[in-house]
Subunit: 296 residues, 2 copies
Amino acid sequence: MATPTIGLLSPGDMGHAVGSVLRTNGLTVLTSLKGRSARSRALAAKSGIDNAGSVHALVREVDILLCIVVPAAAPDVAHEVAAALRATNSTVLYADCNAIAPRTVRLIGDTITAAGGRFTDVGIIGPPPTRPGTKFYASGPAAADLAILRDYGLDVRLLDGEIGQASGLKMCYGAMTKGLQALGTELLVAARLMGLEDALRAEQRESTPDVLAWVERSIPTMPPKAHRWVGEMEEIAACFADLGMTPAILQGAAEMYNFVAGTPIGQESPEERDRSRDAPGVVAALADALEPAVPS
Amino acid sequence: MATPTIGLLSPGDMGHAVGSVLRTNGLTVLTSLKGRSARSRALAAKSGIDNAGSVHALVREVDILLCIVVPAAAPDVAHEVAAALRATNSTVLYADCNAIAPRTVRLIGDTITAAGGRFTDVGIIGPPPTRPGTKFYASGPAAADLAILRDYGLDVRLLDGEIGQASGLKMCYGAMTKGLQALGTELLVAARLMGLEDALRAEQRESTPDVLAWVERSIPTMPPKAHRWVGEMEEIAACFADLGMTPAILQGAAEMYNFVAGTPIGQESPEERDRSRDAPGVVAALADALEPAVPS
């Protein structure tokens, strides 16, 4: 693999940013825009990601196929790619980069390898990589082959161990960052609804300033991402349940993000988000969306 | 009320420390040890809290009665005190200092005032007050009368508004501190069970150091308190559900604390706790308690 050609499914919020970095570093990046939204088409065009047409055409042309989709879509995309691999006798390296439970990623790995592909488990930790600090943790026997992308702008980090390790790490990390944001959002909204917002902030500033600061830094960019995080929280819940612990904390986080996704500010795209809206502004908007349900 | 006599139900972990501070500052503190454990009797004796014998005798002798019990016991204690108030025609100021939902505390307030007592809602935030930094937030029409305890070592802070405000503040604050500890404990145990403990800590130290540090500072003292926190998490879940939001995050926290309370380290008393056991040590002990349930 001298200079690999990269396939990308699909050019959404995270995907188009990954494609953009690889393009900037000189790689050809292809996708299939069949059935994709106008927004995905626009993001692909903006990032210089070319349209191969179909998934069949895509797997014929690429060396590495990065799958970056919403968690719930990951198994279906893998089945579609597996069918294309069989039809074309392709042997691409398929990197599942989604926020899914180890058990789910092992099933997807089986789907891809049974169809003749090679497979690596990837967990992306950090913001879209057009900003610094994003790591692509990879595990499984084929993970080392993904390290070539270090030469093209991605921070690929190899984990010891089998398929599932990279996803397991992503689950634990996502539980902390997105679980805490869901919890913090809920209690700040509760305080506002009870008329206790100022008293709570004062107390938290006095005794848990680091945690409050982290939550308030995170909340402003959260609402447009909430719809994507619902499935991720459900995958973490399944992962923890598989280990013998309660899934409820993360199921509750999924319910919070589902609520946020249904509010007016949850329906904005990241591009549309009002950048002047701070954490108290988000909390106020969410409390407003709940107010009719509050008992008098 | 020149020099008030204080009643205390009951001299447990938090209660005996509150009694000890009031005693040290010159007040007489009484309790009823009828039916209490050997440990409560020992904590009372250590703190100079005298035994009035029965709850009837207690309400006859005190001006202010502080109720500090596990959340699930709060309504029953209030009913027992209400019966004693009726039987003795007493008019004590009853301060419910428990971690309970505003709806629960309003019911308890009605129970006490219908029996002739006066009532204030109190939320205790912080460690047992023998260490610094503990605040006694109070709300309701009679809250101002509790401020006299400022002269005897307690940091009483008056909140505007009715019965329920102090408890509401305690619910939101407890959601942050104990909700985050439950979440952090769960994901650290998950990481350990998946062989990802070192990788996760390394990633968290790189990108969420403040939150990791807060969680790891909190975990060592948590197991002996877990049994008390189960009911508190259930009260917060009820409070959030009353406001129209999901109770699941906090129900899950209750399930985590219930699990911790059932492990060997959860069955130690605060005095028995191994003070050399750090956060990784607690995580290891909890993972060991789970291991038989992990699928191979």
